[in-house]
Amino acid sequence: MRQGMALLMKGNEAIAEAAIQAGCRLFYGYPITPSTEIPEYMAKKMKAVGGTYLQAESEVAAIYMVFGAGAVGERVMTGTSSPGFSLMQEGLSYLFAAEIPCVIVDVMRGGPGLGGLGPTQADYFQLTKGGGHGDYHAIVIAPSSVQEMVNLTKEAFDLADYYRNLVIIAVDGILGQMMEPVEFPPSEGRKLEPKTWAANGAEGRPKNNVISYYLTPELGEVENKRWGDKMSLIKENEQHFVEYEMDDADYAFVAFGTSARITETAVDMLREEGIKVGLYRPVTLWPFPEKGLLARVNQIKGWMSIELSAGQMVEDVKLVINGQAPVSFYGRQGGMTPEPEEVVAAFKAQLLGGAQV
């Protein structure tokens, strides 16, 4: 990898390369469009760095291979797309409960069911509310450019190790397939504790168990409270977002990933018409960046969530705004993406026209 100089790369490949540069030497996965460039890149590049690409027999097996590698304390990743991601839900719940650090990529495609190969963001609920059983959350990161896919992938591994929590990188099919110029600057990374908890062989120390069960409800509640405290800490420390033209905005869009890119153009178009509008772009989907939104509550007259879905994130926006301003929504589904012109029109109809979804 020619460090420091720009390369034209697909988002999926950029994630894979960034993972390797972040010290990930284990990738377990099962091919699925539109995420397959990730395993393919790993299959090609892991060899040279002495790492392992292993094709699992299924996504279920893949996520539990990740479980095993994470449990022994190694950096590990898998990547998939919506249907495969659904098959991993039990595993995600287990990974959380066993507090195993790992990074999972979901390159979202058209659903539900087998659906289609087009880009969507319709796994938002599944990603952020816990598609698996029980009270848990993964840290969910949503880049919106290939360069950000590089930067955030490196950060994802640090977050996972720092909090002993699974981290999901959520992108739509366009970001996974799109090529943009990208650079790989050498990065610092966080200070991390040694993984003394790992089950990697009890040499000269008491044995470690990495497990996800509790023997009594009393213990179960203690564990759940401890996990709850950890999630509160993450909520406190790790809300990330980017604002575009927000400082003097009267109205604001909320969008992530590709829809944020499209909306950014819509903002430019509206600004050209002299309408003061901005874009609030969540970079973490969980924790949802409430703080930044709350800071704007008194300023913004109306909000509009733009999504490649029937409207999922809009619920989190409403939960934060809590009735203090209208919150509306515009989206496309099934693999379709809105044009900036549509977003502009929807904005005028719903917010300037005062209508509300």
Partner: protein
């Protein structure tokens, strides 16, 4: 510097190399320090189905990477002609592979350039460089990057195959040549 953004769509059926020439344009844009995006799209067929890619070359940050209304569209087969002919912006240019797309009543508000690229490629002796021939025509008529940058891009993408680069550049020039006759 003033704001300039050019949007392309390159379409044809699989195997005609439309994704590749899109990539060449994006690479060339990057070499000339522009912002670029490249997005592929495939039809449901495994092979021989339609494929296309959207490319944007801009001197400022690119928001939406999708291209609904291209400034420049290239269609290598009839299906693609019917799919994209209407979407070209008024004043834009539509490049048509006349070896595969019959003469049809076209739009008056755009420029339509018909090129028998298969036949030209045949003359060069390599059917599969028809796409590069068309790239040459585009470069001659509506360039967004300089000639040498485009050649540099072709060479970079040929990787360790100099003979391939050489062949492509021959095709490129054939295209430019033909453009003169237009």
């Amino acid at each position: 510097m003033s704001f300039s953004m050019t949007k392309y769509i390159f379409a044809g059926f699989g195997g005609q190399g439309v994704l590749f020439i899109g990539k060449v344009m994006a690479q060339a844009g990057m070499i000339s320090k522009q912002q670029v995006t490249w997005i592929p799209a495939y039809g449901p067929e495994m092979r021989g189905g339609t494929a296309n890619c959207s490319v944007i070359i801009s001197n400022k940050r690119i928001g939406s990477p999708t291209v609904a209304k291209p400034d420049i569209a290239l269609v290598m087969n009839a299906a693609s002609y019917h799919k994209f002919n209407q979407s070209v912006v008024p004043g834009g240019t539509l490049y048509v592979n006349s070896s595969m797309v019959p003469e049809l009543p076209g739009r008056a508000d755009i420029r339509i350039v018909r090129v028998p690229v298969n036949d030209i490629a045949h003359e060069i002796g390599e059917a599969k460089v028809a796409n590069i021939v068309m790239l040459g025509v585009i470069q001659a008529i509506s360039p967004t990057v300089s000639d040498d940058v485009l050649e540099k891009a072709l060479i970079e993408l040929a990787g360790k195959k100099p003979e391939l680069a050489e062949l492509n550049i021959r095709a490129l020039n054939a295209g430019k040549e033909y453009a003169k006759s237009l």
